[in-house]
Each structure stands twice: as structure tokens, then as C-alpha cells.
């Protein structure tokens, strides 16, 4: 089967790749662009480890085809830090020991950043429901929720 040429923007950089129409955006990010930060935990949109934003919308990149990325703006975990300056969420995740194995962390960060952009003052319940699409098997979510809410408080104070 012939491949499609896709031009898209990832973390602010214009990139191109050739992909089979059956390949997911996640496959393309990982295998063609070597952006392996997004993970495949399920391939069915249930675990959120592959979370990215597409034109500002939070999606599971395993549920989107690579060809659908044409002309879009994609943000991945690799684009969250500003150079060597970590995003406050990244700092808090480390500070709170909110990761154990770290496989879900990229997806959690992308999803949590998306939450705080939409809702700078989420309740615990809102935070839990927003992150319900991101499975973590290590932490029981306690420290993750605390890290996200504390980041939100810091960002509110700073703004």
C-alpha cells in the first residue's frame, strides 16, 4: 500500500513523515519522529499513556491516525518544558514523588497541563475526573492529584 506524505507541527517544529494509512499518530510520533515520550499502554484509548494535544485538544494519539495530523499543531510531553526550564507541573511531579515507574507520567503531564489551561482552580473531584482517562498502576493517584492541585495553586498565586 502506498504511503501518505504528512506535514504537521510538533512542539512548534514543522515536521514531515510518510505513513501507512493504518498507522496511528502514536506510531508516527514514536517510530517516524523518534518522539518516544508518548507511550502505548493499551492501543484502545483506555489508558491515556499516549496523551497529546492536537490543536489544543487532549486526545489519545493511539486513537488518531497519522494521516489525520496533516496541518495540525501537536504538543507532546517533549514540548512541555521550556528548554531546560521545567514546567511547574513537571517540578511538582518530582517533588511530590508522584511517579514510581514513570510510564504513565508523560500522559499525566499532558493531560494535567490541559486541565490547568482550561480550569486553573480545579477541585479534587474535578482533577480526579479529568485524569480518570490516565491509568496509573503504581501510585494510587494520591500524590499525582496533590501535585496537580498544588501546581494549580502556585500558578494562581503567580498570575
Amino acid at each position: 500500500m502506498s504511503k501518505f506524505h504528512v506535514t504537521t507541527q510538533v512542539n512548534g517544529d514543522e515536521v514531515e513523515f510518510l505513513c501507512d494509512p493504518r498507522e496511528t499518530l502514536l506510531d508516527c510520533l514514536r517510530d517516524k519522529l523518534n518522539l518516544t515520550g508518548a507511550k502505548e499502554g493499551c492501543g484502545t484509548g483506555d489508558c491515556g499513556a499516549c496523551s497529546v494535544t492536537v490543536d489544543g485538544r487532549l486526545v489519545c494519539s493511539c486513537l488518531m491516525l497519522g494521516v489525520e495530523a496533516e496541518g495540525k499543531q501537536i504538543e507532546t510531553v517533549e514540548g512541555i518544558a521550556d528548554g531546560d526550564v521545567l514546567h511547574p507541573l513537571q517540578k511538582k511531579m518530582i517533588e511530590y514523588a508522584a511517579l514510581q515507574c514513570g510510564i504513565c507520567t508523560p500522559g499525566i503531564l499532558v493531560a494535567a497541563k490541559s486541565l490547568l489551561e482550561k480550569n486553573p482552580n480545579p477541585t479534587e473531584e474535578e482533577t480526579r475526573y479529568w485524569l480518570a482517562g490516565n491509568l496509573c498502576r503504581c501510585t494510587g493517584y494520591d500524590k499525582i492529584i496533590r501535585a496537580v492541585m498544588d501546581t494549580a495553586a502556585d500558578l494562581r498565586e503567580a498570575s
Binding site: 501507512d20 498507522e23 506510531d27 514514536r30 517510530d31 518522539l35 518516544t36 515520550g37 508518548a38 507511550k39 502505548e40 499502554g41 493499551c42 492501543g43 484502545t44 483506555d46 489508558c47 499513556a49 507532546t76 510531553v77 517533549e78 512541555i80 518544558a81 521545567l86 513537571q90 511531579m93 518530582i94 517533588e95 511530590y96 514523588a97 511517579l99 514510581q100 515507574c101 514513570g102 510510564i103 504513565c104 507520567t105 508523560p106 503531564l109 479534587e124 473531584e125 482533577t127 480526579r128 475526573y129 485524569l131 480518570a132 482517562g133 490516565n134 491509568l135 496509573c136 498502576r137 503504581c138 501510585t139 494510587g140 493517584y141 494520591d142 500524590k143 499525582i144 492529584i145 496533590r146
Partner: protein, 751 residues
């Protein structure tokens, strides 16, 4: 280890610094199993049996081999050539049989053949071209049915000497232990309760599927990158299955995206190496989530009978349990562990426990966090709760009355050294959660839990650099922040900052053998090894200082990162900092390193108590956990934040096991729920915050008092939640998970 070796008054241990791998893990840079690739790499795919039990009549690989993108096809025949080690035996044979089916497919999802192709898509397409003719055989997936006289036999001759005569051949191991006279004990009781319980198989549910990248040449030399809890066992097993020498295969452990016991063996790794040997190119295999569920280790399912006698004052007079565990189509279900752990928290005069290891047509069970212990605790702690209820006794007081302590002869044989059960129970009783008022409709449950903990073969090397920094090489993959703990312990001994120490998980070619990251052993055993290796280096540092000063080495002590003259020489010389000694170590005797290679055997046992508030929706049968507290003895918490994390994670997994998770098989023997949508693990909105109390009763077997903390946390939740449900809704749930339909059925029956 002598107690006088024990340290107190810590500088670094007990603090909560950022983990050394934190930056890599929040930026996406950390390399997990599926994140590695190699030039010329092929992609593997595995064909799996759709039948629960079938004879493999014929495999035709010709169409797949003719596919233009396919570079190699392997079946069981490709593992039979073992020039160095003919005749695999024991567990290696079992693993081979699981990795690639021989004469029979033994469960839905059992690997039958594999291919390597030039792309992952091509591999997925071409694997379907392999034709397999099956003769479908009768199957059995339930533990009680697998023991029944008419059950199909999974494999003749799999039972060992322990199994009594007259038992079905699917029973492959038998365990019996205890002491005293249980019949006499039951006769002394004011109340005896006997009940039966069932738990379903659950999966470890690590978010990272198994993944590996293997290269094996015709010269018998190989490289393997894989996500594993133990790369030495992967090395040894793959070498055995492929007939190469162990040392010729270098295995590097990737960052590991969760294991919980499920990554302590191999599945795809030998297949990738066999494909690579045939194709002469590196081969990567990444499992899909469905493959993870169908073909990797769930825990055992269980059927259990427990009988406990109690006096009116709460004294347990006798306890007896029969635990039947189904572990898939291979020996290994931890019926013995269930039996040995079930009554371990209690000081019992009369106790007897029996464990069965039963085979059925399901995937080979793998360890899952305190393997076997949660099921037994579910049964035993539920019965104790019923006894407390009927005798109107406080459940913590009853457990305190019967609690094991130092000097107690454990239900499974040995005599306990210093343990922290009483202290943990007292902390639970004093915790404000235990006395907090309940809202209408809520119930509170508690449970104890026990796990042995493990030492295991351990090697650690520590090397000092000229600038005074240190690198520590450990061999236990870091599944929960252990690099931070190792650096803290090394810093404590060396007296240099935590940040000046880099801890690396060494590959199999650069360090001696290490047992797997399991048995809650890492902070205990690799920690002990790190301390000993650092002390070994400190001895050498002191020797260099002694030589420089011209005084005997026993007149030099190590304090706050400096060699200091002591005894009669005290004050004669200025303290000599580590970095000043290492700066010219090349000319004062050579590089300074410390080592430890041994098998630490003082892993202290561990106890925990969980307090749960739950409420049950009478209309839907849904149970919500509204408050949760974990109290557990850590011996000494090296990095308390990661100790809390283990407690919270264990509790969350236990909540999933108690309320929702289960392997569901159809009548056809096929797994019905092999994706996360249908096998639903707890999500953030299912859980409350999980409060933790770290009790510290030092383990005499560790220089800093450490006990493993990883596993015990999953032992109490099953019963604690069942007990909370019983108090909230008035129904005693004897089968897990307590899913809404089961609770509704119980409510209906009850009312």
C-alpha cells in the same frame, strides 16, 4: 548481622530528595522497553492459540515465509536445538513450553509460532498467514472443577512428590503445615465459624506492555534489551532456552513501566532472540495489551475454606485453612504461600493450613505483589471479622489480643525476631480514622496483612571518582524509586551529598549476579549491599589516610565524609575529606572501589493494617471507598515518600482486586475481557486519598533496620473492604470481586 552494627541518627536517610531519574521521566526522555531501536531492526509478531486446550496437529508456515517482508519464522522446533544444554528440565522447560507451545496449546493466547518482518504492520499482517491445524480438547478453567475427578488432564506427570495419592493429576503441589491440635482447640472455643471463599484471577496491570529488542548471532553471542524486573534471570533463562552460554548473552534492563511480579520471567525475549538468530538481524517485539492479558501472568484464582474458633474474650483457640489455587497450565500457583501467610499475624496454639497448586487451561500465573497472601487474608480476616461481630468485640482489640510478637512461633514454623505488628495495631487504634464517626450508610472494616520479604543474591559495586563523586552500580531494576534510596544509603556511609552519587542499573556484563527485583527485596538487599560496598570503600579511604599520616589504620575513623585520626592520634591531623583522598588515589595505591557479593538472609517480615470506610449503593450495588488508611511497619523508611507510595499503590491495587478486577472466561475457555475497557483497574475518580502511617520497628537483619515495604500493602485490602461492606450493607461477601451484580445479588438474597 550484629545489632551493634546498627546505625541511628541519620543525616540523609529519612529525607525526601528528588529522585535521580525524575528529570528523564517528566520530560519523556527515559527509555522504556519499547523505546529502543537498532539499525536494521525487524519487528516480531506472535501467533497465539484461539483455543483453551488443543493438540497442535500441523503448522504450515510456507505462506508466511513466502511473504516479501518476512525474514524469519519460528516455531517450537527452533528452540529444540540446544547444543550446549540438551534436555531442558524443571522450570526452564515450563518457561519454554509457555513461551512457545509444544504438542498442545494449553490456554487461549498460548504462543504457537512467530515471525519477523521489516515493519510492525507487515509482521501483524503476515503472522496471519501461518496456518495451524488444531484438534480441540476438553478444557477446564475453574480451580474446583480442575480438581474434580472428571476434569480433563492438563499434563500427566506434572505433580511432584508432595501430592498425596488419589488426588487429580491437575494438582501438582501440596503443602501442609502448622502446629498444636486444632480439633482440641476448636473444642475449647465458645464460637467456631467455618466458611468458604472464592477469589478470581487478577492481572498485575502494569501500564507498560512487555517489550524487547534482541540480537543473536551465529557465534552464540547476543544482546538483549528488555523491560524486566530481573535481567540476570532473563539472561539465564533465554540462554537455556536458546542453547547458548549464559555469559555470551548480555542483557540490559530498560526503564521498567511497572512489574508487580509480572516481569520476573520471560515471554517474548527468547522468541525475539530465536527470530534474530534465524534472520541475522535485531528483532523487536512489543506485546499488545490484549496479549499481555491473554498470555502473561495473572495471579492465581482461589477457592478456600477457613475455620476459626474463638473464646468470648477474643482468644483464638484454633485456626484451620484449606487453600486451593489455580495457576494456569503450569505448576507454580502459590498455594503454599497462601497457606503459610494466612494465619501468620497471630500467635496461635493450634493451627493447620493446607495449600494446593492446581493446573487449569489458563495462562501461566506469575507473581503478583505478595503472591498468594491477599487471597488467604481475605478468607481469614473475613472470618475473624464475623467472629468479632458475633461476640461483640472490637476488631483491633481482638487482633491485638492474638497478635504475634518477638518470640512467637509463626503459624508456618519459624520463631519471629523483632516484628512490628503490635506497634502497627496500636498505631491503627490510635489513628483518628478509627474513631471518626461514620456517616449513615457507611461501614468500617479493618484487616491485618503479612508478607515474608526476601533477601536474594545481590551484587553491588561502588566506584569513587577523582573529584570525590561516587557511582553505584546495582543490579535490581528500579521499579519505584530505588535509585534514590540507594543514593541516600551510600551518602549516609560516605558522608558526601546525595547529589554527588549516581546510581545506575548495571547490565549483566558489568556486575555479578543479582536476583530479581521482587520479594520486597530491593531496598533491603541492594540497600544492605550498597551500605556494605560503601563501607568497603571507606576502609580503603581510611587506609590511604593512615598511610599519608603514618599511623595505624585502626587509628583512623570515618566521620562526616572525612578520615579523622582517632584514639591516641586524635587531633594530630586535620580531617582529610574524601575528595582530597580520591584526588590523587592513582598515585597512592590505585582506584578506590567497594564491593558486595552475597545473599543477605535477614529480610525482616512485614505486617500492615488497613482501615477502610465504604458505602454501598443499594440500587446499583456499587461500592465506594470513602476513606482509606494504611498502617505498616517499614523497619526504617529510607525515602519516606516512596515508602508511602508503595503503601498507597498496594492499597489501590487491592481495591481494584476487591471491587472490580477479574479474569472472565467464556464457556469456550476464551478470555472475555482482554482490554483495559473491560478489565477495569481503578482510575483516579474511583479512589479517595490514601492516608499512610509509617511504623518503624527496626529489622535486626539490616544495618539501618530496613524491612521491605513493597508487597504487604496489597494483602489487607481485600478483607478490609469486604468487612467494610459487611458493616455498611449487612452482607458478607465471600466471592471477589465484589462487583455491583454480586453485591446486588447478595442484597437480594439477604433481604
Amino acid at each position: 548481622m550484629a545489632l551493634d552494627d546498627r546505625k541511628s541518627g541519620f543525616t540523609f536517610v529519612g529525607t525526601r530528595p528528588d529522585r535521580p531519574d525524575g528529570l528523564d521521566k517528566v520530560t519523556g526522555r527515559a527509555k522504556f522497553g519499547a523505546d529502543m531501536s537498532a539499525p536494521g531492526m525487524l519487528h516480531g509478531a506472535i501467533l497465539r492459540s484461539p483455543h483453551a486446550h488443543a493438540r497442535i496437529v500441523r503448522i504450515d508456515t510456507s505462506k508466511a515465509e513466502a511473504h516479501k517482508y518476512v525474514k524469519a519464522v519460528v516455531t517450537r522446533a527452533d528452540f529444540a536445538e540446544v547444543p550446549f544444554k540438551p534436555g531442558l528440565e524443571g522450570e526452564f522447560w515450563n518457561v519454554l513450553e509457555n513461551v512457545m507451545a509444544g504438542e498442545k496449546a494449553l490456554y487461549d493466547g498460548h504462543a504457537v509460532a512467530a515471525i519477523a518482518a521489516t515493519s510492525a504492520l507487515a509482521a501483524r499482517d503476515a503472522v496471519k498467514l501461518i496456518e495451524v491445524e488444531y484438534e480441540v480438547l476438553p478444557h477446564v478453567t475453574d480451580v474446583d472443577k480442575a480438581m474434580a475427578p472428571d476434569a480433563p488432564v492438563i499434563r500427566e506427570g506434572a505433580a511432584d512428590y508432595s501430592v498425596p495419592e488419589g488426588v487429580h493429576p491437575n494438582v501438582v503441589r501440596y503443602h501442609e503445615s502448622g502446629h498444636g491440635d486444632v480439633e482440641a482447640g476448636f473444642a475449647e472455643a465458645d464460637l467456631v465459624i467455618e466458611d468458604s471463599f472464592v477469589t478470581e484471577a487478577t492481572h498485575q496491570g502494569y501500564i507498560e506492555p512487555h517489550a524487547c529488542l534482541g540480537q543473536l548471532g551465529a557465534d552464540g553471542k547476543g544482546e538483549l534489551w528488555c523491560t524486566t524486573q530481573g535481567h540476570w534471570i532473563a539472561q539465564k533463562t533465554c540462554a537455556a532456552l536458546l542453547g547458548i552460554e549464559t555469559s555470551q548473552l548480555r542483557v540490559t534492563a530498560s526503564e521498567i513501566g511497572g512489574g508487580f511480579g509480572g516481569k520476573t520471567t520471560v515471554f517474548i525475549e527468547p522468541v525475539a532472540l530465536a527470530l534474530s538468530r534465524k534472520a541475522n538481524r535485531p528483532v523487536k517485539i512489543v506485546m499488545s495489551r490484549s496479549e499481555v492479558f491473554r498470555a502473561t501472568g495473572p495471579t492465581a484464582s482461589a477457592s478456600m475454606d477457613v475455620k476459626i474458633g474463638m473464646k468470648k474474650d477474643g482468644t483464638i483457640t484454633a485456626a484451620e485453612g484449606i487453600f486451593r489455587l489455580q495457576g494456569g497450565a503450569f505448576p507454580g500457583a502459590p498455594g503454599d504461600m497462601t497457606a503459610m501467610c494466612a494465619f501468620a499475624p497471630y500467635n496461635l496454639t493450634n493451627v493447620r493450613q493446607v495449600g494446593y497448586d492446581v493446573m487449569a487451561n489458563r495462562p501461566k500465573q506469575a507473581a503478583y505483589r505478595a503472591p498468594g497472601a491477599p487471597m488467604g487474608a481475605f478468607a481469614v480476616e473475613s472470618v475473624i471479622d464475623e467472629l468479632c461481630k458475633k461476640l461483640d468485640l472490637d476488631p483491633i482489640d481482638v487482633r491485638l489480643k492474638n497478635a504475634a510478637h518477638e518470640g512467637t512461633k509463626a503459624s508456618y514454623g519459624p520463631t519471629y525476631e523483632q516484628i512490628g505488628l503490635v506497634e502497627s495495631l496500636e498505631a491503627a487504634k490510635a489513628h483518628q480514622h478509627y474513631s471518626a464517626p461514620l456517616k449513615p450508610g457507611q461501614g468500617r472494616g479493618i484487616s491485618c496483612g503479612f508478607w515474608f520479604n526476601h533477601g536474594g543474591e545481590t551484587s553491588v559495586s561502588l566506584a569513587l571518582s577523582e573529584d570525590g563523586s561516587a557511582q553505584v552500580m546495582v543490579g535490581t531494576p528500579d521499579i519505584g524509586g530505588s535509585r534514590a534510596s540507594m543514593a541516600l544509603m551510600a551518602a549516609e556511609v560516605l558522608g558526601i551529598p546525595y547529589e554527588n552519587i549516581r546510581v545506575t542499573i548495571a547490565d549483566t556484563a558489568t556486575l555479578g549476579y543479582n536476583d530479581v527485583s521482587h520479594g520486597s527485596r530491593v531496598t533491603y538487599a541492594s540497600g544492605l549491599a550498597t551500605i556494605k560496598a560503601a563501607k568497603h570503600a571507606v576502609e580503603k579511604l581510611c587506609e590511604r589516610a593512615a598511610a599519608k599520616w603514618g599511623i595505624p589504620v585502626d587509628a583512623v575513623k570515618w566521620e562526616n565524609g572525612c578520615a579523622v585520626p582517632s584514639g591516641p592520634n586524635a587531633g594530630d591531623f586535620d580531617p582529610l575529606p574524601l575528595a582530597e583522598i580520591t584526588a590523587n588515589m592513582g598515585s597512592t595505591g590505585g582506584p578506590i572501589s567497594g564491593h558486595f557479593e552475597a545473599t543477605p538472609e535477614g529480610a525482616g517480615v512485614s505486617f500492615g493494617i488497613h482501615i477502610v470506610d465504604a458505602e454501598v449503593d443499594p440500587e446499583t450495588g456499587k461500592t465506594s471507598v470513602s476513606r482509606y488508611t494504611v498502617i505498616q511497619d517499614a523497619g526504617k523508611a529510607i525515602h519516606p515518600a516512596y515508602v508511602e507510595g508503595q503503601y498507597q499503590g498496594g492499597a489501590a491495587q487491592g481495591i481494584g482486586w476487591a471491587l472490580n478486577e477479574e479474569y472472565i472466561y467464556g464457556d469456550d475457555g476464551r478470555l472475555q475481557n482482554s482490554i483495559f475497557l473491560d478489565y477495569r483497574i481503578p482510575v483516579a475518580s474511583d479512589l479517595p486519598m490514601i492516608d499512610t502511617v509509617i511504623v518503624e520497628v527496626p529489622n535486626p537483619g539490616h544495618p539501618y533496620g530496613v524491612r521491605g515495604v513493597g508487597e504487604t500493602g496489597i494483602v489487607p485490602p481485600l478483607a478490609a473492604i469486604a468487612n467494610a461492606v459487611s458493616h455498611a450493607a449487612g452482607v458478607r461477601m465471600r466471592q471477589l470481586p465484589m462487583s455491583p451484580p454480586r453485591i446486588l445479588a447478595a442484597l437480594k438474597q439477604d433481604g
